[in-house]
């Protein structure tokens, strides 16, 4: 059995609700959709028990009806595990992962600025990447954002 399948199996054994939610796309690419309320458990397990010791990036998504966040983890630089979380569009909020990876700070700030996803536990700090005087509740990466007119 390959490493990818092992991870799929371990995740599915540990978390029954992940049955059929873990997909091995190709060699060293595993995707998993995780319910928001269970995310912390899965993330913790992946980092502490499955040996995922690196965070490539965090991607924020606008999926139309909902928002999404993908955490791209990797193991020893090789295998990538992508945990997708769907968020409610009205009050999108996730918990910070900076206690696992201090480097996640910048990716989370980017999500806050560009998509308006609140990150619980993220230390107050500077904006990134938008300027400080950027209007509040104005998030360019939202699909319904019509900023061109507003800023022209």
């Amino acid at each position: 059995m390959t490493d990818e399948e092992k991870i799929k199996q371990e995740l599915e054994n540990k978390f029954t609700y992940l049955k059929d939610a873990v997909i091995v796309k190709r060699k060293s690419r595993v995707f998993a959709a995780v319910p928001l309320e269970k995310f912390k458990h899965v993330f913790d397990y992946a980092v502490k028990n499955l040996g995922f010791d690196g965070l490539c990036a965090i991607t924020g998504l606008d999926l139309g009806e909902s928002l999404g966040v993908i955490y791209h983890l990797n193991r020893e630089g090789r295998l990538t595990l992508n945990l997708t979380v769907a968020l409610d569009k009205e009050h999108p909020q996730v918990a910070t992962v900076t206690d696992y990876f201090p480097g996640a700070d910048i990716y989370e700030r980017e999500m806050v600025d560009l998509l308006g996803i609140a990150v619980k536990g993220l230390a107050t700090g500077q904006h990134y990447p938008l300027p400080d005087n950027w209007p509040k509740n104005d998030h360019p990466l939202r699909k319904d954002w019509k900023g061109e007119a507003k800023h022209a």
Binding site: K25, R26, S28, R29, F31, D53, G54, L55, C56, A57, T59, L61, D62, I70, H72, E76, G77, R78, T80, N82, F101, P102, G103, A104, D105, I106, Y107, D113, L114, Q126, H127, Y128, P129, L130, P131, P140, L141, W145
Partner: protein, 409 residues
């Protein structure tokens, strides 16, 4: 400048690349750095948003221009993700050509870095000579792709230009020349005591910190982390090529220099292997304009470290989401760690050592004197100059070396 009390110096924000403009807020007590924080986000152009309203082919050219120095890295990384979603297997020859351009780009970028690093520590002759050598690679890239910097060689399904037989000899000759030069630089780096003094124990980043802060590329490898996407998650033709991942356990700027010099040697060997093993055949496969829905993650070892792209397609001609994580963004967070307890004189070389995109010659420094509540602005060069003279005071000087090198050429 002001020896009494704490002084905060913001460095930046004139930094042009998409993800990589930076402003370091440096708190100083005398010459010592007490704290450093980073402010990013200047010159944010909104490329990710723009990608969503352009077709895949248009995006390719836009993405190539995220960074002018590692343009091939970004475009290859993006196109790989698109091809993965579409389920396209590109021809072997195209893979080799992508590898070739990627390695040539690494050579040009590392030589450029070496010159810039020399400039930061007052070793200007190194700048002049490495940039002169760099022109050799630029010539090859220009004859292969038609452009010196943004090559535009990638397309969805392969590459746009083939290598002609007469390129072969030219490339091999240039590799021999550059290898000889690089050997000289390596000898210089391992024997010249002033260079070692100036770089050793500066900008320390322990293995654990490098891991925690998510450092990538030469910065991580110089902290003893053996990670290289080319080896770990092979793309293009790297699985069929033989090369070593260069690491160093020095954890300092000197280690990062050695790693880059070692990588130059590996790149020469890789280019030679590519020229030997390149299969014949077509260079593209035909693809439709529409890409089926799906998502893919693509990684690429750019000269500065791991480049990461996430692409989500929705079945139309345009992507739904493109996420770019440039290597400098991953590395820049380690800089404040590296600057802890260092002298102001070390600042330029520490920042340069992660190799942020270095075109900004007019990056400004604002000096905020808290005692007088007045803002003073200095060029980035002030810090550099200060650093050089500080080290000269400590007995580290490149004058003799500059002269020695001038004689050699």
């Amino acid at each position: 400048m002001h020896d009494s009390g704490e002084v905060i110096i913001p460095i930046g924000p004139q930094h042009p690349a998409l993800k990589e403009p930076e402003c370091f807020l440096i708190s100083l007590r005398g010459e010592k750095i007490t704290a450093a924080s980073i402010k990013l986000g200047y010159n944010h152009r909104g490329i990710e948003k723009a990608c969503e309203s352009r077709t895949y082919i248009q995006d390719l050219y836009l993405i190539e221009r995220i960074c002018g120095i590692c343009s091939h890295s970004h475009s290859t990384c993006f196109v790989q993700a698109v091809e993965e979603i579409a389920g396209i297997e590109i021809p072997g020859r195209a893979k080799y050509i992508r590898t070739l351009i990627g390695e040539l780009e690494r050579i040009h970028s590392h030589l450029l870095w070496l010159g810039v690093a020399g400039h930061e520590i007052g070793f200007d002759t190194l700048l002049m000579y490495t940039w002169r050598d760099r022109e050799v690679v630029m010539d090859i890239l220009a004859s292969l792709t038609g452009n010196r910097v943004n090559y535009g060689i990638n397309t969805v399904g392969g590459v746009r230009r083939d290598i002609k037989p007469d390129h072969q000899e030219k490339i091999l000759k240039a590799m021999d020349l550059l290898e000889e030069r690089t050997k000289y630089y390596i000898e210089l780096g391992s024997s010249e005591s002033t260079l070692i003094k100036r770089l050793s124990k500066v900008g320390m980043l322990s293995r654990a910190d490098a891991k925690n802060l998510g450092a990538v590329g030469p910065t991580a490898r110089a902290s003893g982390i053996e990670r290289d996407v080319r080896k770990d998650d092979p793309y293009a033709a790297y699985a069929e090529l033989d090369f070593k991942v260069i690491t160093s356990d020095k954890c300092d700027v000197y280690g990062r220099t050695l790693v880059r010099l070692g990588e130059l040697m590996q790149s020469f060997s890789l280019v030679r292997q590519v020229m030997q093993k390149i299969p014949s055949g077509p260079i593209t496969v035909k693809t439709g304009r529409k890409i089926p829905s799906g998502e893919a993650v693509s990684r690429y070892e750019a000269p500065r470290g791991e480049d990461f792209h996430y692409v989500r397609a929705n079945g139309t001609e345009m992507p739904e989401r493109v996420k770019v994580r440039a290597p400098t963004l991953a590395n820049i967070q380690a800089v404040s760690k590296m600057l802890e307890d260092r002298y102001l004189a070390d600042l330029p070389i520490v920042i340069a050592a992660i190799d942020p995109c270095f075109s900004c010659t007019d990056r400004m420094v604002t000096l905020h004197d808290q005692t007088r509540h007045k803002k003073n602005t200095f060029a980035w060069e002030t810090i550099r100059r200060k650093s050089i003279s500080w080290y000269r005071q400590q007995g580290v000087d490149f004058k003799a070396l500059n002269k020695k090198m001038a004689k050699l050429f």
